[in-house]
């Protein structure tokens, strides 16, 4: 390419980057001018944009963190994500200690581990986790868009599956679900997911490390010592020590041997550990931005709730005259922090109910908790779209935006992987962000359980891809 063509390409990229940024600014300004409540949705939008920028800048992908350890022995992303978790946990614990946290722990049980295995397999097969697929869509990767669609559709269908699937529900779940006395419109005795949630998951303990130690969750002792120090910092440091000794140390020792220094002292081990932590500045910077942004997101959202005197965006939507798709409790999905998958299920639920006329509000997930508001005024959908936009801006500015058509092979993996992630996300009540990143950082043990499940899930999928790539290499005459 000539220099002229390169400059022209760069100018064009910059134009589109600012166009995307301008579009989001215009959305925020015009909607705020129309009704001040839209600022609530814009908070989600701008934090979503920051997540997108940081995810693309650091190529931040949870799938990569688990997968690259097993596939190519690379610990870079596992380290970056752990750094982000620790930083987010620090900010989150300070917010929690002020009594301003929007976080709610999830029920802890073996279901979180099983869901993690399914999700872990899915994210490796798909080629990216739930948040990774959003940022890769922003890079112009249409394969990632298929993953996003697969996660969205599989969730919306999975939460509403009834009929034959009712036969798979244990009697105890059914009775326990009925005993919860949910509104008749939910019809909780019908549907696999409804009975799984109300008759099984909700019976599990909801706790945090602070609570387990007998401390108040929002006290300084509970939030900082219990949740942050004991629930996040100590296990993260130990986890990174395992990563260092199993994967990173070998390379550090090899470099020293090459430089004529064979003996490893304790101080050298510490240096090796630090070298691992600081190996990829790009990933570490992304981890820092995401960690701090995710903590501030909770604080700002809580501030907006206090200002408007609401506990959930459902009340704001109703005040603005939008009552379609609001749950029987008057709520819509409004986590108050970073989340990815629920809003993806919602837009499909909304679309299916609108186009087929079928009732998608007669289940716990949509009808009792999250609703199916119009995606155009769904706060969490604003966040996801802005995440894609933020990633597009960063990719355009760095000359990494490339429109990529999916091939049949990759589209197949995207659909299978996306579907597994959709199912895993609903079983765990969240994805790699909602069920892992957010929960771990807020001292919820169910987050670690989901993470523990993702390890064997990713391992199994890597073994499968190893077999698959060996087969393709052999076909080209390079068998081992």
């Amino acid at each position: 390419m000539t220099e002229n063509a390169v400059n022209k390409g760069e100018r064009k990229n910059r134009f589109w980057a600012f166009f995307v940024l301008g579009f989001f600014a215009l959305v925020s300004i015009t909607t705020f001018a129309y009704n001040e409540y839209y600022i609530y949705l814009s908070i989600y939008l701008w934090f979503g944009l920051i997540y997108g920028l940081a995810l693309q800048y650091g190529r931040f992908c949870f799938s990569s963190a688990f997968r690259d350890l097993f596939a190519v022995g690379v610990a870079r992303m596992a380290v970056g994500i752990t750094i982000a978790i620790v930083l987010f946990a620090l900010v989150a614990s300070l917010v929690t200690a002020q009594g301003l946290s929007t976080f709610h722990p999830a029920p802890s049980g073996i279901h979180a581990v099983i869901a993690g295995v399914i999700f872990g397999m899915g994210m490796v097969i798909a080629g990216g986790c739930a948040s990774g697929s959003l940022y890769k869509t922003g890079e112009g990767n249409m394969n990632a868009l298929i993953v996003v669609f697969s996660i969205s559709v599989s969730q919306a269908l999975f939460v509403d599956v009834g009929g034959w699937a009712n036969n798979l529900v244990p009697e105890s779940w059914h009775h326990s679900a009925i005993a919860k006395g949910l509104p008749a419109s939910i019809n909780v005795g019908d549907g696999w997911m409804d009975q799984y949630l109300a008759g099984y998951v909700w019976n599990h303990p909801v706790t945090t490390f602070a609570k387990m130690l007998g401390w108040d969750n929002s006290s300084a002792l509970g939030a900082i010592v219990g949740n942050f120090f004991l629930g996040v910092l100590v296990p993260s440091a130990l986890l990174l020590a395992v990563v260092y000794f199993v994967w990173s140390r070998k390379a550090f020792v090899r470099k020293r041997v090459k430089a004529g220094q064979e003996k490893m002292t304790m101080l050298d081990e510490v240096k090796g550990y630090w070298a691992m932590l600081s190996a990829s500045k790009r990933t570490a910077i992304a981890g820092l931005v995401i960690g701090v942004a995710a903590g501030l997101h909770m604080l700002v959202l809580q501030g907006a709730r206090v200002k408007f005197g609401v506990k959930n965006a459902g009340a704001l939507l109703e005040r603005m005259g939008f009552d379609y798709g609001i749950s029987v409790n008057g709520t819509v999905f409004d986590p108050g922090y970073w989340y990815v998958t629920t809003q993806e299920a919602q837009w499909v639920g909304w679309l299916l109910q609108k186009t087929t006329g079928a009732n998608y509000m007669d289940n716990v997930f949509f009808g009792y908790v999250n609703g199916i508001p119009n995606p155009a005024i769904n706060p969490a959908d604003w966040m996801s779209l802005a995440t894609i936009g933020g990633a597009a801006i960063m990719a355009l500015l760095y000359g990494e935006f490339k429109f990529k058509k999916p091939t049949l092979e990759l589209a197949t993996w995207a659909i299978i992987g996306g579907t597994l992630m959709g199912i895993g996300a609903r079983l765990a009540l969240g994805c790699n962000i909602g069920a892992f990143f957010i929960r771990v950082a807020n001292g919820d043990p169910s987050g670690w359980l989901f993470g523990i499940g993702m390890v064997p899930g990713a391992y199994i999928a890597v073994k499968f891809f190893n077999w698959w790539t060996e087969r393709k290499m052999a076909k080209q005459g390079f068998g081992l």
Binding site: V72, V74, A279
Partner: protein, 83 residues
């Protein structure tokens, strides 16, 4: 586009994984490096930015040297000398 791995001439190999997303480019690169001799050079062409980070760290760990890095219109062309 399908993956293409071929020997260009003595000591030089070519791996084209354009269009592939994670984890395929890094796994194919690892497997291609396993199949060539020390001193041989593998040219890898890919267009998945995040794979570049993994390939780069993988080479740092193994000691294989990335001797050339080019970027053309969202496509990465890297030459790796096996140690």
């Amino acid at each position: 586009m399908a993956m293409k791995f071929e020997k260009v001439n003595e000591g030089n190999y070519h791996l084209d994984v354009t269009g592939y997303v994670c984890p395929h480019p890094q796994i194919y690169t690892k497997k291609a490096l396993e199949r060539i001799e020390p001193g041989d050079v593998l040219q890898v062409i890919f267009d998945n930015p995040s794979s570049g980070e993994s390939i780069s760290t993988m080479c740092e760990n193994t000691g294989d040297e990335i001797v050339d890095k080019k970027k053309e219109g969202g496509q990465f062309i890297w030459s790796i000398e096996k140690c």
